[in-house]
Subunit: 421 residues, 2 copies
């Protein structure tokens, strides 16, 4: 066993006692007996969400029924919650709707951006994205290009240098994810957006792993299109509807390709032809899953109430602590840090590679530390500052140390491949 | 006042007492003091849905958290519920997933069908639909054609005769809604599908106003593609996810255009390129709203337990009763029956035109009969045999008679335009 001369558990307890965000923990149902470091995949249940869901089901659906579309504001939920998300993301120069899934919103954003470029610069036929992007973003682009069959090309980059090299006069759209789902690396949204726009392209940012985790200011970044999900750091519930934000200067310039009645200028006129609504409503398509959507608002409201700079400070303190403790206390194992040490390049999760990462994560979960595993060999630990504390991090790393030092991961039950959350 | 010599309220009470489906009423929360004739727009709350939703929220999300994707079967929900829907619709020669919205599933179905035709008969460039189709179906086709920009054309028909005339060698796809949302008219799915296929086209049926309302047998109809919603006669909850069913002979022949990671052959390999799953999973896109989706299954289970022929018998008896009572008891008002008298052409709602339909519906709702209004001038009454009885129909028609005979609809508060449910 490593005897550490560094930070102690008592130090962590002291940090928790002084944590200005500590009271947020009581707003959430935390599973007992485990340390939940997977809020970057599925956020925990806000306590108020139970009552909200019950009210939507029993009163709004059960009693008020069809009238709820008006009296309980169901029609406006995507726009109302979208308005809150726009505020959370510092996006007053555009508007947002909460709707559909991230994948589908990627399709809308890329479709609309390509349509704008087809008007402004029809020779631009290249879509840039990251090789390491979350795959569905790439798949949606691939499906869209195959469907359009008009000579579009997907160009994959690996980092900012290769982005710089790839940004030529053929590029129409650049689709990046602000925080990488695997490494936790954070793009500088403002700087990179400027580069993209200087090169004559439009930017689309996927905020799935950053909304609610790092401060975002879409206005400062002069963002074009933005999509993201609400079930990670926003604690909206499993599969809660995603969002799409579009800058005012673009929103009325294109039809997005999924031209459904919720995006119609006058949906209840029941006219035969589509006429897109002015503004962000044209990015709506069909009837939304109201129970999931309304329940999600509780998590968004919590996020809106948080002091962003405190959130970021604590997030960085916790991820730094995690890294430092691994370095100090688990030196003699083949663990490789995947997440950037530079704070400016770090989101809110920490990833480590281990050659037996799969079995190690299964063992960790069996011993009460819930992270997750992503191919290849990556152990992923979501550090959600609203409900994770310093002592939690200490305890999690200590469990990782035991799993490795005592080779607990070699137990036969952890060798069986299959889903690890 | 009209003195009727026909059916009495006591006759209706007697019919209710002998109704073999009467016990289904106790499975639903019915709003007190009103007669709810809008189940064709939003079905009522199944009592068991409250407990199901609570379990999904408190235990599956709150306690089991990320593990629920496996241990609580979240990953398989769209396929498992889709399997039940395929059974309900008599579609063993294909498969179904419960996912996304009807509008988005229309896009997938039309996109896939066009891709198949592009392989088999590339000169076919016409999509046929109904001028009176629910508008979002037309809008999605319009958006898709505009996006593709490859010379596709939408040809609108008005009835079966004009369909016959329109079915020429240019037609790729025919998109019809089995029961019209406004008139309640029912297409003969088997006969019309045969015509479409004989003409070399592919059929897409929208079952929004028929699934759970009329017996459907996709196998007998030799259906190609089918979409529909679950929040009307299936009582799945507001905006509960829709479904898409695809015949086995077609399912692997095309990518549908929304190529998201849930449709990938191996989503957790996180590979850079899209490879569609074999079978119906390729019609999935992104992460589904689990609370809405899981809650919806309760309504589907109830529908699966019903004897379809009894359901149809009662549905026709109730809609016929409604029409007969209107004719007998409200003869002296400008009411025009929109719904077909021929039972073979009738779904499960009854529509009447009245020149002041908007005010009449507002007055009806104020007097405890909840139907809805659709432009132009159409009063719509959903007759849902699982929870509406014969005396309900009598009472609803009696309220309509009072609203008209006593000119209650002329009250100033009913003249204000705006949303009517």
């Amino acid at each position: 066993m490593t005897v550490s001369t560094g930070i102690t558990r008592q130090d962590c307890v002291t940090l928790d006692a002084a944590d200005p965000l500590a009271h947020y923990r009581s707003k959430f149902e935390l599973p007992s007996g485990v340390i939940y470091l997977d809020g970057n995949s599925l956020g925990v249940l806000p306590k108020d969400a139970v009552a909200r869901a019950n009210d939507v089901i029993s009163r709004e659906w059960g009693t008020d029924l069809i009238a709820s579309w008006n009296t309980n504001d169901w029609f406006d939920l995507p726009v109302r919650i979208g308005g809150k998300l726009a505020r959370l993301l510092g996006g007053s120069a555009g508007a947002c709707v909460a709707t559909d899934t991230t994948s589908i919103n990627v399709f809308k954003a890329v479709g609309a951006a390509l349509d704008i470029q087809a008007q402004d610069a029809p020779s631009r036929k290249v879509i840039i994205s990251e090789r390491e992007n979350f795959p569905t973003d790439l798949y949606m682009v691939e499906g869209l290009m195959k469907f359009l069959d008009r000579g579009y090309e997907l160009r994959l980059i690996d980092d900012e240098d290769s982005l710089d090299a790839a940004l030529d006069a053929d590029v129409a759209v650049v689709l990046l994810t602000q925080v990488n789902y695997r490494s936790g690396r954070l793009w500088d949204m403002a700087r990179v957006t400027r580069k993209i726009q200087d090169a004559g392209a439009l930017s689309i940012w996927d905020l799935c792993h950053s909304a609610g985790a790092v401060p975002i200011n879409l206005d400062d970044a002069n963002a074009d299109f933005v999509v993201g999900c609400t079930y990670k750091y926003l604690n909206g519930g499993p599969g809660s509807p995603a969002f799409i934000w579009v800058a005012d200067r673009h929103v009325n310039r294109a039809w997005q390709p999924l031209a459904g009645w919720w995006g119609h200028a006058n949906p209840f006129d029941m006219s035969v032809s589509y006429e897109p609504s002015q503004g962000i409503r044209r990015f709506l398509v069909g009837t939304q899953p109201i129970i999931s959507l309304a329940t999600m608002e509780v998590g968004v409201d919590i996020a809106l109430s948080v002091d962003e700079s405190e959130l970021r400070k604590k997030s960085l303190a916790l991820t730094s602590l995690f890294m430092q403790l691994v370095e100090e206390r688990i030196p003699n194992h083949p663990l490789t840090l995947v997440t950037p040490l530079d704070e400016k390049e770090r989101g809110s999760h920490v990833s480590l590679r281990h050659p037996d990462g799969f079995a190690v994560m299964k063992a960790l979960i069996a011993h009460g530390v819930i992270g997750d595993y992503r191919e290849p060999e990556v152990l992923r630990f979501g550090i959600t500052p609203l409900y994770i504390g310093y002592a939690d991090v200490w305890d999690a790393v200590e469990t990782l140390r035991r799993v490795l030092d005592e080779e607990l991961w070699r137990a036969p039950e952890f060798q069986i491949r299959g889903a690890v959350t």
